[in-house]
Subunit: 483 residues, 2 copies
Amino acid sequence: MNERSVGIVKTQFYTLKVPFFLNSGNFLEEVTVAYETYGKLNSEKNNAILICHALTGDAHAAGYHEGDEKPGWWDSTIGPGKAFDTDRYFVICSNVLGGCQGTTGPSSINPSTGMSYGLSFPQITIEDMVNLQYEFLKHLGISRLYAVAGGSMGGMQALQWAVSFPEMMQKVIVLASTAISSPQQIAFNEVARQAIMRDPKWNKGDYYDGEFPCEGLALARMIGHITYLSDTAMQNKFGRDVKDESMFQVESYLHYQGDNFTKRFDPNSYLYLTKAVDLFDLSNGKSLEEGLKNVKADFLIISVSSDWLYPSYQSKEIVEALTLHDLKVEYREIVSHSGHDAFLLEKGQINYHVSSFLEHLSVRNVMLSEVPTIDEGCSLEEAAQLMISKNTTHLPILSPSGRISGIVTSWDITRAVANKIVSLEDVVSRDIVTTRQEESLFVAAQLMEKYAISALPVVDENGCLVGILSSDNISALMGKKAD
Amino acid sequence: MNERSVGIVKTQFYTLKVPFFLNSGNFLEEVTVAYETYGKLNSEKNNAILICHALTGDAHAAGYHEGDEKPGWWDSTIGPGKAFDTDRYFVICSNVLGGCQGTTGPSSINPSTGMSYGLSFPQITIEDMVNLQYEFLKHLGISRLYAVAGGSMGGMQALQWAVSFPEMMQKVIVLASTAISSPQQIAFNEVARQAIMRDPKWNKGDYYDGEFPCEGLALARMIGHITYLSDTAMQNKFGRDVKDESMFQVESYLHYQGDNFTKRFDPNSYLYLTKAVDLFDLSNGKSLEEGLKNVKADFLIISVSSDWLYPSYQSKEIVEALTLHDLKVEYREIVSHSGHDAFLLEKGQINYHVSSFLEHLSVRNVMLSEVPTIDEGCSLEEAAQLMISKNTTHLPILSPSGRISGIVTSWDITRAVANKIVSLEDVVSRDIVTTRQEESLFVAAQLMEKYAISALPVVDENGCLVGILSSDNISALMGKKAD
């Protein structure tokens, strides 16, 4: 566990005391919601962020369950100093309605019968999931969200939030998702469902007292996994390597993923949730412009360059429709070979884009605070030697009072040699640009671009050096060097 | 049946009298090959073209079986005057080794046991398929092929032919294929195989005396069908239309395709053939350049713009490797939304590219022979009226002897109006470029491009007009205006 983790967390449960009505008119007598929260709700109650999970995700988005070695599914973006900064925000994640990881779904006990619902569970929609989240937030005393965010099916929920409760949030973040499920997406979901339903152990959904249809569920997951990766990702990851005489590595990988999945997921939940995804259509059969007409929030829409399951054009359609309503919309395409999975994997780019959108990523989060410096009056040779030993190309020069009075770079040294200059003083840059720890990283990056400099000294209110921000730090954060 | 059909055909059979040895060292005691031929082998025996079929294809490539309403699978390209012109070529197609439509495969009776092979059938490769075709061609008395052609798995066989028997053919045509099966292709094949093998009725391949694993096979086919279509094709074909309350059109289509497939295909064959595809790697674990070093033929490599199962980059890799060996290679990308299936559907573009490559498509095949003309001495008004009434923009002008003496276009009329010219004579083009019926279409098209003209009069040996070739005719043939 690193210091930027939210630490040990526990899933909590809340049971709605009244019947929960679905969009279809059906209702569930009793609904339990599994959820986790990270960070603290402030006294103004205006710092809550709701995270919505994807098809097979759960409420455990960040931190560690006691004894676990693996953190929650989006731990890379949720925690102190991360994009969803738990020092600032109260972050909430709940398992969706219809799921199988604590929230009521087809595997839950129907209070009327004392048995698992199975196929008697009513078909739910993305809207129903969002309505349940709304009810559950009331229980937490939250009537307004700072933001709603999610990827894939989580992105659908985030969009649905903006449509269903337009006044209730300031910002919406949608990753690798769509506003309208396409026939290709439906087709992949249908073959996955058929894999489950054609397993005789599925038994029309009534398997809770017997053997689970694990073979069918595993096959469904294998199909899913192909669509989560890109052609290139598979080429890089597996190529034509063989596991043994009868199997390629890629086959072995899919089998492992499929089998592993059966340990944690309910086959009937897979059927209900994929169907909810298929039914998702914010155009309501008209246009997306029409479907999004009442939306009020600011949007960040992110797609992945190599995602062929939720291709970038679907994100751009959302952007276009929102733009027609004069909403503030940012669109970013993550550059990655990882395919759809990138919304879970490309933490550098996601942290950067989300932080910038939430407007709180500051120089402090990224700067290096241990900076080698030299004092006024040093020699050219001393400066060069320090650069070599500390492996740095920039040396701030400090006055006796600790204030920064200049900067010398390896380029300056080169210039001195070229021009037979022997005094450091004659090559040092005195006209230096600095920034402050509190400055937005975005503004600092713009400053570096404007002055064409690759490192920016960070100073305190007295002009004393407290760190240095280099373009290397920023690009590492961006993680743009995708495999 | 249209006049360009090869008519009623019959599948024939040939049984190899000696054991057939496989690459693995295994052998089959007896092998039967199902095949069809169209056209006539000439006395020089140098006009034979071998057509190789894809995964689930068969020997019935063209014409009609007695009583059938549907022609063979590539009837659009094989027949009199078509790309594989049966007036010129002797076209042969055989069912592959391991198949289930007449050629020996896992469903065949093992002569040693008197029972179907099932899983005792040895694993075969693309190379084995080609070796069997070679033996069978010997039986037909063919020692040299004019060309080998195929799409998808058929393209793999065509490539393998060029590698295994480099001296035996002049030309090779590969459509929508690859020289090396990629991990994504392997992955899709593996989930299809799992769909079959996880059907309890599969019974480790021993189902020939009982019920067939139809549910598994149908699911395998459903998965396959998603990969044969493009996202756009599905959007255009199905959108979010619903079949009934519980099903989208796209789901209904997949179910229909899956169920239908079980009527004509053997599940074990599906396993063996997909594995042969997976094992296909002409680089032999080194480089494609190395793998193709002995190849001698001229190549036409065709890919499909929207094919994501066998993407264009894989065709380009073949082109690059062949080019390194200074071979004559043409590469064409079919512009189509139809995805992988385009190699069966885009008959216009395929006929054009294949005909041009086989160098026999002439102006005669494409020109319009009923051309409105005007006589010398006509007025400007008469010319304009005829253009309007005949809906044409080009009017050849004929001399009293019927020779073409000039041409007038709607552009000339416009020019006359603009410049207040009243006599047709003053705007007519006298310096006209013509072509002949026998001319290669390719050369004629180049001529039109060179002179920037959109219609070319076609004349006979006496200079008399016999037709007109317009860029519209060519582009209609090309079928570039994909949906």
